[in-house]
């Protein structure tokens, strides 16, 4: 049951081959049995999940079922869930129970999804290995001595270990695509503004975007269609109709122009990853696409620009966590300053503090022009690179991460090494364009991802390319051993 695609689950539920209660119970049981070895979930609410499953069964019986009625799902713990703790991987929100649902959660619930629980993540989505979570690291199901990637490591590990058929996730600089690559999944970060940020706890507002971690492009297309769309509660959400992503999955790739940025196949890339990505590109050519080299000349500036803009925004987004109204408050504050200082010192972890400090510095009087303004200028140049490239190609392809999953502690001692994990993914966030990662091979038994970047609002195209690729290959069907 846990190997079924979303489409298969839907039709099985429709044909009454099993009930929503049965499949929900099945996944809850797997979580209870397997997750202690992975730590993918921070909250599992069995009673709420079972109640949701019963309601789904009633709707199925009454013929009032939504399009995803009875499909179990896990939500990254960055999405607010009404009445269910939402910690964002932080001690700061260890006691925070939102009185509202994020728009993403609300829409998926309306479509009939049954929430299994909330998945672990790097604290406030700041990290590329899931090692910054206050609730402990998540283990990669492919090798439990290795990281699952981050920040959506919990969602990735949960889907890879078949603890949930699909999960929501967020991506600010690669937090969906890099864990997708490291866990052998299909993960899509849509166009900035395609999915509402309302109720999604902010890391860097101008870069954050909700998306999906799934086992196939077809599953991702189905779920994204139910999540996406304009939301009046998010002023940056795009008021444009959402196409039927599933309808265009099978479109022919003949004549499709794919550009491979020469800057993405550089010295920093793991040779095994490079081989796998080149093989993937060859497969796309066999499917009719024309692959050619292009240049995104400002790519090398994307990591430095990102590590000014994202910390700058996070430094003020996280100012609200002050111990006054909700969240962690230190014991026995002596005065206001003491309450602020100790609540934040005790409530936030090191990586979060590092970024708050960097961001505060970058926005300070006398430094703003040198850092923040300069970074915004670079951001515009990077967006122009994509604009120019998309005048000549339809899709841009390359690696999703520099190497397969690394060991715990291998990169966490040096922040800059860790930041380079996102070297291929950050540009899409800076430019706001959609991008996904598909499994493209195994290196020493570990999955490798190929990234596909599309034009603004052209999610349908990259999902189509990923789906056709998955029709011709079986990398996405490989599963980690030693879990069951």
């Amino acid at each position: 049951m846990h190997e079924l695609s979303l489409e298969a689950i839907r039709s099985a539920l429709a044909r009454r081959e099993f009930s929503a209660l049965e499949i929900t119970t099945h996944f809850l049981d797997r979580i209870a049995r397997i997750d202690p070895r992975l730590n993918a979930f921070v909250t599992v609410d069995r009673e709420t999940a079972l109640a949701g499953a019963r309601a789904a069964d009633a709707a199925l019986a009454a013929g009032t079922a939504g399009p995803l009625c009875g499909v179990p799902i896990a939500h990254k713990d960055i999405f607010c869930t009404d009445g269910m703790r939402t910690s964002c991987g932080s001690r700061m929100l260890g006691n925070f129970v939102p009185p509202y649902d994020a728009t993403v959660v609300e829409r998926l619930a309306a479509a009939g999804c049954v929430t299994l629980g909330k998945t672990n993540m790097d604290e406030f989505a700041m990290g590329s290995s899931n090692e910054t979570s206050y609730y402990g690291p998540v283990r990669n199901p492919w090798d439990r001595e290795r990281v699952p990637g981050g920040s959506s490591g919990g969602s990735a590990a949960a889907v890879a270990a078949r603890l949930a058929p699909v999960a929501t996730a967020t991506d600010t600089g690669g937090s969906i695509r890099q864990p997708a690559a490291l866990c052998g999944l299909t993960g899509i970060k849509p166009t900035y503004g395609r999915v509402s940020r309302h109720g999604m706890i902010a890391f860097a507002s101008s870069l954050d975007q909700g998306g999906v971690l799934a086992r196939s492009a077809a599953d991702a297309a189905l779920l994204l269609g139910a999540m996406a769309g304009f939301d009046p509660r998010d002023s940056t959400s795009i008021d444009a109709p959402v196409p039927d992503y599933c309808a265009s999955l099978d479109a022919d790739l003949a004549g499709l122009r794919i550009g491979v940025p020469k800057e993405y196949l550089d010295a920093g890339l793991h040779p095994g990853t490079e081989r796998a990505v080149r093989a993937g590109l060859a497969e796309l050519e066999r499917l009719g696409a024309r692959v050619r080299e292009i240049s995104l000349p400002h790519s090398p500036l994307s990591v430095p620009a990102y590590y000014v803009i994202a910390p700058a925004e996070c430094s003020t987004n996280l100012a609200r966590f002050d111990g006054v109204r909700y969240g962690y408050r230190c014991a026995d504050p002596q005065d206001l300053f003491d309450m602020y200082a100790r609540s934040r010192a005790e409530g936030f972890g090191d990586e979060v503090k590092r970024r708050i400090l960097v961001g505060t510095y970058a926005l300070s009087a006398g430094y703003y022009d040198a850092y923040y303004r300069k970074a915004q200028q670079i951001r515009r140049l990077i967006a122009q690179d994509f604009h120019a490239a998309f005048a000549e190609v339809d899709v841009i392809a390359g690696p999703a991460s520099p190497s397969p999953a690394f060991r715990f502690g291998e990169k966490s001692t040096d922040p800059v090494t860790m930041y380079l994990e996102d070297i291929y993914t950050i540009a899409a966030n800076l430019a706001g364009v959609p991008a996904l990662s598909v499994p493209v091979g195994l290196v020493d038994g570990l999955p490798v991802g190929m990234q596909l970047i599309g034009r603004h609002l052209d999610e349908a195209r990259i999902l189509n390319v990923a789906h056709r690729f998955q029709q011709a290959t079986d990398w996405h069907l490989r599963r980690p051993g030693g879990i069951d």
């Binding site: 999405f79 607010c80 939402t86 964002c88 929100l93 925070f96 939102p98 009185p99 509202y100 994020a102 940020r197 309302h198 109720g199 999604m200 706890i201 902010a202 860097a204 507002s205 101008s206 009046p232 509660r233 998010d234 002023s235 940056t236 700058a312 925004e313 430094s315 003020t316 100012a319 609200r320 002050d322 006054v324 109204r325 909700y326 206001l336 602020y340 505060t360 926005l363 300070s364 009087a365 703003y368 923040y372």
Partner: protein, 482 residues
């Protein structure tokens, strides 16, 4: 030594939207603490601001009223500082690209002169909550009802030169926002708050002196007094050869002094940057024209019209146009009686006198405009004298009904029957034979004063109802033999 006072004002006007600038919570004043703060106002994680288009419309309205330019694209910024009543840890405001820039406000001064003060800019921002330090035994209570209330911050050029000008400028803004209906202007409830920037320089100097900023001066009277004492303080420092420290000060109305705020109360680096949760605001020229079409007649234009249409003196016109309601009331009185000058006198002297005495607004007047018009008509048509009219007006204020009913019920109709008045005159002359004797013996100059005595006696006998003109004529005939 002689000093020129240089003043610039930052006026915060609370806009009268039903809901907050970035959330759907109500802005009603005076609700129990924290009952009008939604998840957005509490800065709950994941919540996002959405601009209230009504606040934008009101800002555009103000901009057009002061002949300013409306930015085709304006940008919201975050102003970062920690304070317990600032839930997000930043205030959403506008720094480099305000919605309104470059307007002008004309002020009328008591000496009859007028002056134009230029407005640098006006921008939209959100208000913070309130910290309540009393009643919590050493702790601080936070009320977030006010958090997110829309404010329009109006910044003047440093072109104000006296406390009087500052007050006139503030009154004019008060009047404009009330005319436009974009604020209730209620200073007691904090709907209009003022920061005063003030510095001194020698007359003729072109460079500005070092300024201080007096925060949150919240009444016309306090603005006047705060400027006076701060001016004196700075002059004293300068005359002793000292230097004014650039700092933020508070005005203490009890001790009538300004004092420096503790440095902890002043944030130094607000780390402004564009608010990524809100897109730049694009204002369509067609929208601007649509707002322009809704602008009411503004105080200056209305005063000019009252002068030309009714021949009122500038001073009367200015007083009557201080509020739209007062001007409307005046025009209602004129419409009912047709005599503008008398109407102006009655409204400015009798009506405003009673309103001030009872601390009421024109909207609270217990005498409707048409009733006052009727009263004035009764003077003109000789039904009552001007003096009796004041009695009738008091009775109208006391709720005794319309003027005709009061005149009838109290028997105040003027005696116009010559026979009846003559009988009273004859009786008075008979009863005061000695005075009549000495009157006739007196010189012409003395007679004037003595004549008044007889008039007074007749009026008293008639209980004020005798037509004064007839009384005069009869007395003159009988005493002087004319």
């Amino acid at each position: 030594m002689e000093w020129e006072t240089v003043i610039g004002l930052e006026v915060h006007v609370q806009l009268a939207t039903r809901t907050k600038i970035f959330s759907g919570a109500s802005t009603r004043f005076g609700a129990p603490p924290n009952t009008q703060a939604c998840a957005v106002d509490l800065a709950m994680p994941g919540t996002l601001p959405v601009l209230n288009s009504e606040a934008l419309r009101m800002a555009v309205c103000f901009g057009l009223a002061i002949e300013a330019s409306i930015a085709p694209v304006s940008v919201f910024d975050r102003k970062n500082y920690f304070y317990p009543d600032l839930p997000k840890g930043y205030q959403i405001s506008q720094l480099d690209h305000p919605i309104v820039s470059g307007g002008r406000i004309r002020i009328e001064l008591p000496d009859g002169s007028s002056k134009t003060i230029r407005v640098t800019r006006a921008h939209l921002e959100e208000d913070a909550g309130k910290s309540l330090h009393e009643d919590f035994h050493g702790l601080t209570g936070i009320d977030l009802n006010r958090a997110g209330t829309p404010l329009l911050e109006i910044v003047s050029e440093p072109e104000i030169r006296s406390a009087q000008e500052a007050v006139a400028y503030l009154r004019q803004i008060h009047s404009i926002v009330r005319y436009l209906g974009i604020s209730d202007g209620n200073m007691a409830e904090g709907s209009l708050r003022c920061d005063v920037n003030i510095s001194l320089r020698r007359p003729g100097a072109s460079a500005f002196g070092t300024r201080t900023e007096i925060k949150n001066v919240n009444s016309f009277r306090f603005v006047e007094k705060a400027i006076a004492v701060e001016r004196e303080r700075q002059a004293e420092i300068l005359e002793q050869g000292g230097q004014v420290v650039q700092e933020t000060r508070l005005y203490d109305p009890v001790r009538n002094e300004t004092r420096a705020m503790r440095s902890k109360e002043v944030a130094h680096d607000y780390r402004y940057f564009p608010e990524p949760d809100l897109l730049p605001v694009h204002v369509d020229p067609r929208f601007i024209e649509a707002v322009r079409a809704t602008l009411p007649e503004l105080p200056d234009a209305k005063a000019a019209r009252l002068r030309s249409e009714y021949g009122l003196p500038a001073y009367d016109a200015a007083v009557l146009c201080a509020s739209r309601e007062l001007a409307d009331y005046f025009e209602g009185v004129v419409a009912a009686c047709g005599d503008a000058k008398t109407s102006a006198n009655w409204v400015m002297v009798e009506l405003l006198g009673l309103l001030n005495r009872e601390n009421l607004e024109i909207g609270d007047s217990r005498v409707p405009a048409d009733a006052l018009g009727t009263l004035i008509r009764r003077i003109a048509d000789g039904t009552i004298s001007g003096r009796i009219a004041k009695t009738v007006f008091e009775a109208m204020w006391a709720g005794e009904g319309d003027p005709d009913a009061i005149i009838a019920a109290r028997g105040l109709r003027q005696l116009a029957d010559t026979g009846a008045i003559e009988a009273i005159v004859d009786a008075v002359l008979a009863a005061n034979a000695a005075q009549v004797e000495s009157y006739r013996a007196a010189e012409a100059q003395k007679r004037v004063k003595m004549f008044g005595f007889f008039v007074g006696q007749v009026m008293r006998e008639s209980k004020g109802k005798a037509n004064p003109q007839q009384v005069n004529e009869l007395l003159r005939r009988k005493l002087d033999g004319e």
